[in-house]
């Protein structure tokens, strides 16, 4: 395969990954890494390095649109970023000691888990709000967001230590696997801290970029960001996610979502199986 064909295929593959990521709400990285390793036979360490870069691009690219809607909470985001960035640094260090096949297996498990979360999100409405907590008041994390009629809708935050701990795990996975860990972040904010869905998705998007930036520098220092991969992949994922966010999310996507969830599941199983067979 010559360079131009390889680059072209990479671009369109990454574009698809970006579209899929925006559509399922899982982010581009989760689809991108298996795409690169399974179909392009790229070493998983290169795939993770370049995925981190595209995760930053997607997060920052989408942020402008989210901010205009005014749902994201800078305070919640900044507070939880303490946990995710520390986790990301730990993850980037762990990446040097974990066997590459083990990386593939862990990645496969996260894929399957993400598919399940995405599936449930499509089905269950968001949980009801209960009372706040002592921490919520102390950190002034309570806030409000406009509801459908534009009236401010107040919310408080629960179980902050639990959410903080899960965010550390999300950050570690991000630094280890080069993904945004959107699924874990949403779990931490939606289910554990009971942040309203609209606020948690936009805030999580903000946090993903900052988290990825914490470990991306380490990957760059280690020579894991290959320029020949970086440009088609990051431009492709960015384009795909912007198109996806603009056109696909509004469309009726129940069927597409099911299909893509299956694709993510299949990729997860494939990564685990190939990881296990190559390792032993």
């Amino acid at each position: 395969m010559t360079l131009s064909i390889f680059t072209g295929l990479l671009f369109f593959g990454s574009l698809t990954a970006g579209l899929l990521g925006a559509l399922t709400g899982l982010g581009g990285g989760v689809v991108l890494v298996p795409l690169l390793t399974v179909f392009f036979h790229v070493d998983i360490r290169y795939a993770i390095g370049v995925s981190l870069i595209s995760v930053i691009a997607t997060s920052s690219g989408a942020a402008a649109a989210y901010v205009r809607e005014g749902f994201s909470s800078v305070r919640i985001g900044m507070f939880l970023e303490v946990a995710t960035t520390l986790g990301a640094i730990l993850g980037a260090y762990l990446a040097t000691v974990v066997h590459t096949q083990a990386l593939a297996i862990i990645f496969g498990l996260v894929l399957i888990y993400s598919a399940v979360v995405s599936w449930q999100q499509g089905k269950n409405p968001m949980p009801e709000l209960k009372g706040g907590s002592r921490w919520s008041d102390k950190l002034e994390l309570s806030g409000s967001y406009p509801d459908r009629d534009g009236k401010p809708c107040k919310y408080e935050v629960e179980n902050i230590p639990g959410g903080f701990g899960l965010m550390f795990v999300a950050g570690t996975l991000s630094g280890l696997l080069g993904i945004g860990s959107g699924a874990v972040k949403v779990l931490a904010m939606d289910r554990v801290m009971k942040v309203p869905f609209k606020v948690s998705t936009t805030t999580s998007n903000f946090m993903i970029g900052v988290t990825a930036a914490a470990s991306a520098g380490i990957y760059l220092h280690r020579g894991l960001v290959a320029p020949g991969l970086a440009f088609p992949v990051s431009l492709g994922v960015l384009a795909g996610s912007l198109i996806g966010a603009r056109y696909l999310v509004r469309a009726k996507t129940a069927v597409l979502r099911t299909v893509f969830t299956m694709v993510v599941l299949a990729l997860g199983v494939e990564m685990i199986v190939s990881g296990v067979t190559k390792w032993f």
């Binding site: 395969m1 010559t2 360079l3 131009s4 390889f6 680059t7 392009f40 036979h41 070493d43 360490r45 290169y46 870069i53 930053i56 691009a57 997060s59 920052s60 690219g61 942020a63 402008a64 649109a65 989210y66 901010v67 205009r68 005014g70 994201s72 800078v74 305070r75 900044m78 507070f79 970023e81 303490v82 960035t85 520390l86 990301a88 640094i89 950190l139 970029g209 900052v210 930036a213 914490a214 470990s215 991306a216 520098g217 380490i218 760059l220 220092h221 280690r222 020579g223 894991l224 960001v225 290959a226 320029p227 020949g228 991969l229 970086a230 440009f231 088609p232 990051s234 431009l235 960015l238």
Partner: protein, 116 residues
């Protein structure tokens, strides 16, 4: 304040994408006909891994260095947002969140500048 933050991120990404595209096209012209192979991991050359080396590479017209500059710009974008958030909290005299933003910034800078 949040609008400016969003704008900041957008500008960072646009700028980086532009540099990335330029570098990418030049890279393809310089390496056309080669067979890319990323199956086996071999670390990228030292010169493409740190800021000084990337700047030198750009001076000598290395397209790969231009792509790495775009990568650096991209990494700097969320860092700039945290800096911006810190400034905003300082102006609001919110001591607790000044501390929190400072911690986040310190962790980010550690990841970026940490000694080898």
């Amino acid at each position: 304040m949040e609008t400016i933050m969003g704008r900041l991120l957008q500008v960072g990404v646009l700028l980086s994408s532009f540099v990335m595209l330029t570098g990418g096209l030049l890279y393809m012209r310089a390496h056309s006909g080669e067979m890319p192979d990323y199956r086996v991991f071999s670390s990228e050359p030292q010169r493409l891994r740190h800021f000084g080396g990337v700047l030198q590479g750009i001076e000598t017209g290395d397209p790969a260095a231009l792509i790495q500059l775009a990568v650096l710009l991209l990494i700097a974008t969320p860092v700039a947002r945290v800096v911006f958030g810190l400034i905003a909290f300082v102006m609001e005299r919110d001591k607790l969140f000044v501390l929190i933003s400072t911690i986040v910034l310190a962790v980010l800078l550690y990841g970026f500048l940490r000694p080898q």
